[in-house]
Structures are given as C-alpha cells and as structure tokens.
Symmetry: C2
Subunit: 482 residues, 2 copies
Amino acid sequence: MEKDLAFVKEITSKKNNFSQWYVDVVRKAELADYTTIKGCMVIRPYGYGLWENMQQGLDKRIKKTGHKNAYFPLFIPENLLKKEAEHVEGFAPEVAWVTQGGNQKLDEKMAVRPTSEAIICSLYSKWIKSYRDLPLLINQWANIVRWEKTTRLFLRTTEFLWQEGHTVHKTEEDAQEETLKILFEVYRDYIENDLAIPVVVGKKTVKERFAGALNTYTLEALMSDGKVLQAGTSHNLGQNFAKAFDIKYLDEDQTEKYAWQTSWGTTTRLVGAIVMVHGDDRGLKLPPKVAPVQLVIVPITFDKSKKEVLDKAYKLCIMLGKEFRVEVDARDEYKPGWKFNEWEMRGVPLRLEIGPRDMAKEQVVLVRRDTGEKIIVKEEELAETVNSLLTEIQNNLFNQAKKFLQENIREVSDYSEFKKIIEEKKGLIRTHWCGNRDCEDKVKEETKASIRCIPFEENKIPGKCIYCGKDASTLVYFARAY
Amino acid sequence: MEKDLAFVKEITSKKNNFSQWYVDVVRKAELADYTTIKGCMVIRPYGYGLWENMQQGLDKRIKKTGHKNAYFPLFIPENLLKKEAEHVEGFAPEVAWVTQGGNQKLDEKMAVRPTSEAIICSLYSKWIKSYRDLPLLINQWANIVRWEKTTRLFLRTTEFLWQEGHTVHKTEEDAQEETLKILFEVYRDYIENDLAIPVVVGKKTVKERFAGALNTYTLEALMSDGKVLQAGTSHNLGQNFAKAFDIKYLDEDQTEKYAWQTSWGTTTRLVGAIVMVHGDDRGLKLPPKVAPVQLVIVPITFDKSKKEVLDKAYKLCIMLGKEFRVEVDARDEYKPGWKFNEWEMRGVPLRLEIGPRDMAKEQVVLVRRDTGEKIIVKEEELAETVNSLLTEIQNNLFNQAKKFLQENIREVSDYSEFKKIIEEKKGLIRTHWCGNRDCEDKVKEETKASIRCIPFEENKIPGKCIYCGKDASTLVYFARAY
C-alpha cells in the first residue's frame, strides 16, 4: 500500500501552497510540460485531448450562431499593426518580431500575431462592398504569441492557443447584439455547461478594456484559492477599426457607411481554470463533458483468472465505448491501488473495477471521482447507470463551484473591511465606484484587487465609492486576478 | 441569360493557361485569397470548411491507428535546430527568424518552426525512460513557416497548415512498420477514399528525401495538367535524431538503447490538389466526402408562389440536413440560372431545384456537378437518392482520376522519347535508373523532370538506366512536379 500514496505525496497540498499545487497537478497529470523555450509550454496528449473536447463544444456553439471558421496569416507587418493607434500602443510592448527570412534581413519587420484584428481588418476592407455582404461572421482557431515577462503553465504563456471571432455589421445595434450574444449564448453557455464553471459577467472599465475597443464584456470565474480568472472577453469595437482600415459598405440607400465590428476570444487558459476550480489534493477533477477519458476500467486480476477478467474488461470497454470515452488500464507493472490513485489524479470522472468475484455476480463496481462514492451495478444496467452518473457528476461539479462562488461574493461598503477581506479571504467584492480612474488605480495599488467588471445592473442601486466615498452610481466587482 | 455565363467568362480556360485557371478557381470560389504579407494567404471560410472536413477524415484515421494529438511550441531556438546536422542544413535557408521580443533583442534567435523534429525530440528525450514508454505515438496539427521565394495559393506558401506525426519505437522494424502503416493505412486510404485522388507510392531517392531521414516514402498524385504533386510523406528517421537529441530507453534486458523514430506529414497543399485533379472550366468539383456543402437547394420562385416554394425549400433543408451538409440559396438579388453557375463553380456535388410545378407533382430536380445529369426524384425517395448519388459522385471522381492517371503512366526506355513525352504530354514515366546521383541531376536539368519515387517492386525487373544506359536494377517514376 505504500506505493498507493505516491501521487498524493508528489502533489503539494492546496492549502500549503496553491501555486505549487497547481504546477504539480498540471505536470503530474501530464496536461502540459515546460520546454527550454522561455515561456512556451508543450500541451501533452492528455491536456490536448481535453482541449480538443473543449474546442468541439465551443466550436459547435460558434457555428450554431452562424459563424464560419477561416484562417488568417500568422504574421502582421509593422505598418498594419500601427494603423489603429490604441491597438498598437496596447500590444507593441509584447510582440515577438520576425526580422529575418532565410538569410535575408527583412525590409519591414513582422509581428507574430498578438491578436489578429489588424490583418483581418485589412482583408475585410477588401471583401466588404455592399450591405449584402453583412453581417460577416468569421472565427479563427489559432496560435497567438505575446512576449510575457512572468509565465505560468496555461495561465500565461508566451504562445497560447485560442479562438478569435471577428464580425462586421451594418449598425451599432447589430454589433452590440452580437457582442452580447457571444457573451451569453456562446461563452457563458459553454463555460458553465461544458466546463462546469460558473461565471460573473459584466463590462470592463476603460482601463481594463481591449486596446482599440469601444467596450469590452467579460466572464470572470472564481478559482478555488479565491483569485479570479478572466475566462473570456467579447468586444464591441465600434467603428474604430473600420475607420483605421477603411471598412465601408454601400448601404441600401446608396450611401457609403463605415461598418461596425466585434471581436471575441477564449484561450487555453481555460484548461488552467478547470484545474483550479475543480481540482483537489488528490489531483484533477475533470467535468465529464470534456474529460478525455470519462471512465477507466481497472481489472482486478489474480494469476488464475487473469485472462477471463481482462477479456471481460475489454468487452465492457467496447460496449461502453459506443457511448462514452473509455479506457482499460491493463498494465501489468502496477497494482490496482496504484492505478486508482493515478486515474484519480488525472481526474477521470468514473472508475470501473472488475474482478473475478464481480464477474461471478455479473456486476461491476463504479467509483465516482467527485464524491468517492462506490456503486455496485448489475451489468445489464451499466450503460444507463454510467450515463446518469456522468450527468450527476457534471452537475455536482457545477453546483459545488456555484456554491463556492456565491459564498465568496461579498457586499462591502467600507474600505478597511474591503482590504481585510481581500487580504484574508479574497473572493469577489461587490461594491460601488465613482467612475474615477484614480480611485481604480489606488485600490489596485493598495490591495492588488482590480475591477473585474461592471455588472449589467450597474446603475440600479446607488451608493458611495469604496475609495473616495463620493456618490457613486456604478456597481462593480473587485478581486485579485490571475 | 447573359449573366449566367459570367463565371465561366471570369475563369480562364484550363487549356489556355492552367496556372491562371487554378488561381481564378481558387479565388473565385473563395477558397483563399492573397494578403499583403508576401507569400502568405488567407484561407477563406469556404476553403477552411473544406480543410476542416479533410482534417476530420484524416484525424479519425490517425487516432484509429493509436496516435494522440499534442501541441508543441512554435519557436525553436537556433541551437536546437542545429543539433541534427543534415536537418539544419536542409531547413536553415528557409527559416523565418524571431530576433526581438517586445523591445528587447533576444540573446539567441528563434526559428518559427519549419518542421518540429528538433523541438519535439528535445522533449522526447526527457519523457522517454523505459521500454514501457514506447511506442510513443503523437501527432500535431499546426502552422508551419518556410521562407519561399516563389509562392502559389495552397501549393507553396510561406505559412501553411499541416499535421505532423512524430513517433518513437523500440526497434528498427517497429519504426519501419509505422512508416509504412502511415503511408498505406492512413495517408493512401485518406487521399484515395476521401479526396478521390489516386496516388502512386514509393520511396524517395537520397536527393529527394527529408533532411535527416534514413528513408522517405511518398504519395504522388497526378494533376490534370500532367504535372505531379507530392501529396504526403512518411519518414523513417532511423536513429539520427535519437542520437542527436539523446533519446534513449532502458530496455527489458536492462541495457540503454537509442530509440528509432518516424515522422510524417500532409498539408493544406492537398486543397490545391483537389482543385487541380477534379476541377474543370466551370470551376471546382468537390468530392462529396469533404465538400463543405454537399447539396444546395435553389428555389425557383415566382411572385405568386414564392412563400410556398421557400417554405418547402427550408423544410427539405431541415430534412436532408440531418444526414448531409445542405444549404438553401434564397438570395433575392440573383436569378436561378446565375445561382446554378455559382454553385457549380464552387464545386457543390448536387443541386436541388424546386419550383411550383415540382411541388404540385411532389418531386424535385437533382443535378449532378460531375456529369451534369438531371434526375427527377419523388420526395419520398429523396434522402435515399441523395445518399446514393453522393456515393456515386465520390466514386466517379475517383475513377475518372484513376483512369487519367493510368493513361498517363508511360513505360519508356529511350531518353529522346522520354524528353518528348515529358515536354508534350507530361504525366509519369516509369523507367530505370542506375542509382547514380549524376544521372538523376542531369535528367532534372535537361527535362525538369525529377524522380518522384522508387516503387516497392523496384528490384524485380532489370533494365538500362534512362540516362547513362548502364545496367540498372532500380525502377523509378519520373515527372515534372509542383
């Protein structure tokens, strides 16, 4: 039994050191690994399998709302990136530049895309001529590079994977409708239902919004250490890029008009969010909808009955494999107890144990990763039970996270209480803000908490600014963030 | 009717100017477009939809043969790229270099990956310890950059998309088995069955093989202009990279051994192959298995019955949409004849026409893109007929291409005949070669034809070298290539 505890020993406890726990889990579960390239990670097959399932769920929603995928160049010449003034100011400090092609120095250096507005807008201005070409609804799955000083696996890496939507509309209203449709129908639906992560949604302050946008909307998720992670953003770009890149259309009334645009993105950092929202001291807990392996079969073999039990395990795998993502762990070199721990650490939602005694009784043992509960199931009821248990686990993970979120949103109107809570309990603080950038900056300086978002009911409840005490009509959420 | 011919007029005839025909079709069908970034194209939604279906078909086969996807960094530090001598020599001249991150000059410049052996091997050497870790079967879908002088949409672009498999094995035999499994079971099966493109397979000569490989195997496809395109390659890397990157494992016999490796790839140039193999003067002809739209419904509307016909069109779309990829073209601004041409140009395998008279008879008209044949079908038999027609079209495209390939493989033993055929008819020439690099180079110089591959039956039929006339046991295929 000594070996059985090996994983737990190798994973730092969450309470003692959350950051180290996070790194231990990500590496030990083989989601990702460091590389010798500063700030770049490798997403290992298990992590990439998770990402593929996440992509599938999100891509389905993106397509269902009328968007199509395309692929734009990796490189953006410096002059294109410079066209929208705020945009280049925001991104230039973190751009990786290609200055040499083959043995030749380039006349103009090229940015490795830190986001694709510039290159995409330059093409949209060529493609869009008439109101009939609108709306134009395009999404791209791509790699992105931002030269980061401090990096953390999945959460902040020099290169990351994402999807970026870029849409063009006839009117301001159409653009705003799209921005919110993505926020609610696509992103929130995906993050809450597939990743089992509840979110707080709202608008970013001017300080926090996307470089070049009119308004940025965000989904903020609470990690289990009390810090918040931005899970996705949806930008109403207004006409800023349309004017910089000359995106005009001939309207029905025969006049030329600048178009209205949106852009929106979510990234591989959501893998990190899954780890930090659901994981525990034993390792990962993966939501069944995105888990690369939903059920692992561990045969309990003894020399005498080994062949029969293994045969049975593979038969069950084929049967369940029609509906679920299933694997058999038939490795000889490890004992069942060791395997139990390993698959728990890897977050597989359900474990199926089958041994000679179970076979005699035509039953199997199912064990839930989320609760540890053991369930003895007759073979004939197996598929149905697995199905309902996976649904239950998915719901349970969401409900637990939702409860934790609700318990950690605190209404505060006194600044010293604010500071105490941010320091001791973290979580989200719901309070008022006068709208002044100075107050926002000061709170950040003094507490490391930033305004995560302005909720949609922003103006409904008047109050006093948490920092300066003046009348404030804007409701905001503060938190420390990743 | 004048408008109806618009597309055909805008597309250069294949016979007059094949290259221009190709570019016209790719751009007019909106598969891809040029950008202001030299050698980089944008894959537009219709082209990307095609690529997504291609990816799906190939990814399924890659996974079915036991491989898993992962994601490795975009950047490769210069010192890593230099580790395998032949490899860096082959790729260095076409590398894009990142030399600056943010405002800082980098200490060591980084290659934007021209292929990923170097970065992947550096990680494999860390991950692989025991024979139990083998085989390691990983694939990656990624973007690749090679600094090309002359570029052509899809066929040769500075940036392209691909998949690259990288596997590690215990023995030489295992690596060779994998190399051929990919060649036949994965690539040939995919290219012939999904893309309807017949291929000639074989081994590359030393001159043409992958930089750093022991042996490169290839699939060569004949385009309809008589030139050949390399459709995919599978490399047995031997122990070259294992030795350069120190990839060793502890075997069962407790001794440390260098591992054996393979790598293999196919790219977005296969989109270009689909265009050039199947297309005609009216535009694209897409194989049903990968066509983004398999059937387009064009309602034939008159003012009186417009609503009824449109309703019917959408009902049919919903019904057929359960099994097939279907679209309704309900645009008001174009006449049906114009739409017919447009969808033919875009290569949609089947068109469904429905008007008031068809409705009265409870029938629809189907039109095949490949043959132009019109088929009147009763509504109750529609789904079944569509299904069998799509299968027929898929087979017909393959059979046509297969016939063309067979007609254009010529056995030649006389060099002046060789030159005449290469100049006038092109196609593949099956002949003998002494194995001497000089002869290979001279033929290339004098005829622009290169050795595409050495077929698997290479040694069975002795003959004389096509160039020097000496005894030659090696059978080869020569052709002009893209």
